[in-house]
C-alpha cells in the first residue's frame, strides 16, 4: 500500500459459478423482449468426443451433468448400440430402467422440494423453509436418498456412475445386494404419495398455455430409456428422424443453442409432455396419485409441473420395487459387440425431457461426429414464451417482485444451469 492507495480486506468466497440472466425490455407499458440469457461457457463435449473410441462415449458424456449423468449414459449407450445393431437382453434393459428410476427419484425430489416448493411457500430457499417445515424437508431428503441408493449400487457411485457400458454393465448386482434397497424404497413410495397431497393444495397461478408437447412413447411402458418420438400435434417418428423434426439454431443472447421445428415452432419437453403423451402408461399407484392430486390427463399449467414430477416420483418408486422384485441376474453383464462404421441415434427421457445423442463412427471405431441436444436447450424458447405471457400482466410491479415472478416461472422447467436455485440477474429496460 502506498500513500495514495488503501487496502480493503474482503475475505469473501469468489467462486460462485453458473450464470443465467433475464433481460426484459418494456416500452410504454408493453413487453417488447424477454430473453433468457445462458452464458455458461461452451464446453465443447461434442468436439472432445471426436477421435475417441465409441465405447468411451458413455463415460465421457456422463460428466456433462452431475444431476442427470444416468440420462447421458443411457442416451449415449442407446445411440452406439443402435449404430452397432445391438439389442440388450431383458435383464440388462430392466437394470438400466431401475438405474434410471434412481435418477428420476433423486433429481425430481431435489427440484420439487429444494428448489421449487420454496417459491410457492414464500421462502428464499430450502434452508429457510426447513426452519418451519423441517419434517417435510427431512422426508424429501430421505426419499431422495432412496433414489441415490439405487444409483450408488447399480452405478458404482452416486454421482457420475461408472458401471455402465455399451451392451450392458461392467458388473451385475446380486439379488442379495438389491434386497436391502427394498424397504427404504417401499417407505419412500408411501411417503411420496403422502407428500404430494399438501402440494396439490398450493396456490397455483391461473396460467395455461397451448404447448406442443414432445416426448418418447413406448408400446408398453412409461418412457424412460426407449421409445419413439411423439408429439401432441401428431408426429410419431423413430429417434433416427429427430434431426428431421428439430433443428438447432444459434441465438446471440445465449451460448446454448435453441431448437425449432422445421415450421419454426417451439416445443415443450419434460414431465408435462411425458405425462400428457403417456398418461395411459402410468403405473397404478402413479395414476391414483395423479387423481388424488387433482391432475387431469393433460396439464398445461407449467406451475403444476411440481405435481407431475411428484407423480413421476411415485411411478419411479413403484417401478423400482417391481424391477427389484423381479430381478434375475443374467448370464453376462454385457453383450459382446464390435464397433462398426455408421451413424447411431439414441434418445432417452432425462428428468427434464428428451435427451438426444447422435454419433458417427468410422471403420476404426473412432467417433468422427457427435451431436448432443440437452432438454434445457430445447426448452429455452418455450421458457421465453412463458415469460412473455406470464410477465405481461405483472409489468407494473417493482423490479424485485418482477424478478421473483420470473424466477418462479423459469424454475417450472428445472433448467439445468448449475445455479438454478438463485440464479437470476434481471435487467429491466423501461422506456
Amino acid at each position: 500500500m502506498t500513500e495514495t492507495t488503501r487496502t480493503i480486506e474482503v475475505n469473501q468466497l469468489a467462486r460462485v459459478e453458473g450464470e443465467g440472466a433475464l433481460h426484459l425490455a418494456i416500452d410504454g407499458g408493453q413487453l417488447t423482449a424477454a430473453q433468457l440469457r445462458i452464458f455458461e461457457p461452451p464446453r465443447y463435449f461434442e468436439a472432445l468426443l471426436r477421435g475417441r473410441d465409441c465405447r468411451e462415449a458413455p463415460d465421457i458424456t456422463a460428466r456433462i451433468c452431475g444431476i442427470c449423468p444416468v440420462a447421458y449414459l443411457m442416451s449415449s449407450c442407446a445411440a452406439i448400440e443402435d449404430l452397432c445393431g445391438l439389442s440388450v437382453p431383458a435383464p440388462i434393459a430392466d437394470l438400466r430402467r431401475l438405474l434410471y428410476c434412481g435418477e428420476w427419484i433423486e433429481s425430481h425430489v431435489l427440484h420439487m422440494f429444494m428448489l421449487h416448493l420454496p417459491d410457492f411457500l414464500g421462502y428464499p430457499d430450502a434452508v429457510s423453509m426447513a426452519r418451519e417445515h423441517g419434517d417435510l424437508v427431512r422426508t424429501a431428503l430421505r426419499i431422495k436418498k432412496a433414489g441415490n441408493g439405487i444409483v450408488a449400487l447399480l452405478g458404482g457411485r452416486e454421482i457420475h456412475p461408472i458401471n455402465v457400458r455399451i451392451g450392458g454393465f461392467y458388473r451385475l448386482p446380486t439379488r442379495a445386494e438389491l434386497a436391502p434397497l427394498r424397504d427404504e424404497l417401499a417407505w419412500a413410495l408411501d411417503a411420496a404419495e403422502q407428500a404430494l397431497l399438501p402440494l396439490a393444495a398450493l396456490d397455483f397461478p391461473d396460467f395455461e398455455r397451448a404447448y406442443t408437447f414432445v416426448a418418447l412413447r413406448h408400446d408398453s411402458e412409461y418412457p424412460m430409456g426407449r421409445g419413439r418420438l411423439v408429439s401432441s400435434d401428431g408426429i410419431d417418428l423413430p429417434v433416427a428422424s429427430y434431426d428431421d423434426y428439430l433443428t438447432e439454431h444459434h441465438v446471440r443472447h445465449s451460448t446454448s443453442l435453441h431448437s425449432r421445428t422445421a415450421a419454426g415452432g417451439v416445443v415443450h419437453l419434460g414431465p408435462l409432455a411425458r405425462y400428457a403423451l403417456n398418461h395411459d402408461r402410468l403405473t397404478p399407484r402413479a395414476r391414483a396419485a395423479a387423481q388424488a392430486a387433482g391432475l387431469p390427463p393433460v396439464v398445461r399449467n407449467p406451475f403444476r409441473s411440481i405435481l407431475v414430477r411428484g407423480v413421476e416420483v411415485v411411478l419411479a418408486l413403484e417401478e423400482a420395487l417391481r424391477l427389484i422384485d423381479g430381478y434375475v441376474p443374467g448370464d453376462t453383464p454385457a453383450v459382446a459387440f464390435e464397433p462398426r462404421a455408421g451413424t447411431g441415434y439414441g434418445a432417452t427421457e432425462a428428468p427434464r425431457g428428451v435427451l438426444y445423442h447422435r454419433y458417427t463412427v468410422g471403420e476404426d471405431g473412432l467417433i468422427t461426429d457427435a451431436k448432443i441436444v440437452a432438454p434445457t436447450s430445447v426448452n429455452q424458447a418455450v421458457i421465453e414464451a412463458d415469460l412473455r405471457h406470464y410477465v405481461e400482466p405483472n409489468l407494473h410491479r417493482p423490479d424485485a417482485e418482477l424478478r421473483a415472478v420470473c424466477e418462479t416461472a423459469i424454475r417450472n422447467y428445472d433448467p439445468c444451469i448449475s445455479c438454478s436455485a438463485h440464479f437470476l440477474k434481471l435487467t429491466v429496460e423501461r422506456r
Binding site: 480493503i8 469473501q12 469468489a14 467462486r15 452464458f39 448449475s418
Partner: protein, 86 residues
C-alpha cells in the same frame, strides 16, 4: 470450464468493493486459491487479465497465494482476500 463466470463474479465483487469505498481505480487484488480449486494460478491470471479489460481493475496487480493443503476446509474455493484501491 467455468472460468468466465468465475472471473465475472470476482470482478463484480471487486467493482462493488471499489465503489463502496468511492474508489476510481483498483490498484491491486489479492486472492487465495485452495489446493483443490479447479483452476491453476497461471490460468487464473490469464483469465483475470483478459476479463478485467475495461473494468476498474484493468491493469491491477494480482497477488495469488496458492494453498497446498488439501485438508483445508476451503480447499475447493477461491477467496478474494483484499482489494487495494487508489
Amino acid at each position: 470450464m467455468h472460468e468466465h463466470s468465475l472471473i465475472a463474479n470476482l470482478l463484480s465483487r471487486i467493482d462493488a468493493v471499489a465503489r463502496e469505498h468511492s474508489a476510481t481505480r483498483v490498484v491491486g487484488v489479492s486472492v487465495w486459491i485452495g489446493a483443490l480449486a479447479h483452476i491453476s494460478a497461471s490460468h487464473f491470471r490469464e483469465h483475470f487479465e483478459d476479463g478485467s479489460r475495461g473494468s476498474l481493475a484493468q491493469g491491477a496487480r494480482l497477488d495469488i497465494e496458492v494453498s497446498d493443503d488439501p485438508e483445508h476446509p476451503q480447499a475447493q474455493d477461491i477467496l478474494l482476500r483484499s482489494v487495494e484501491v487508489g
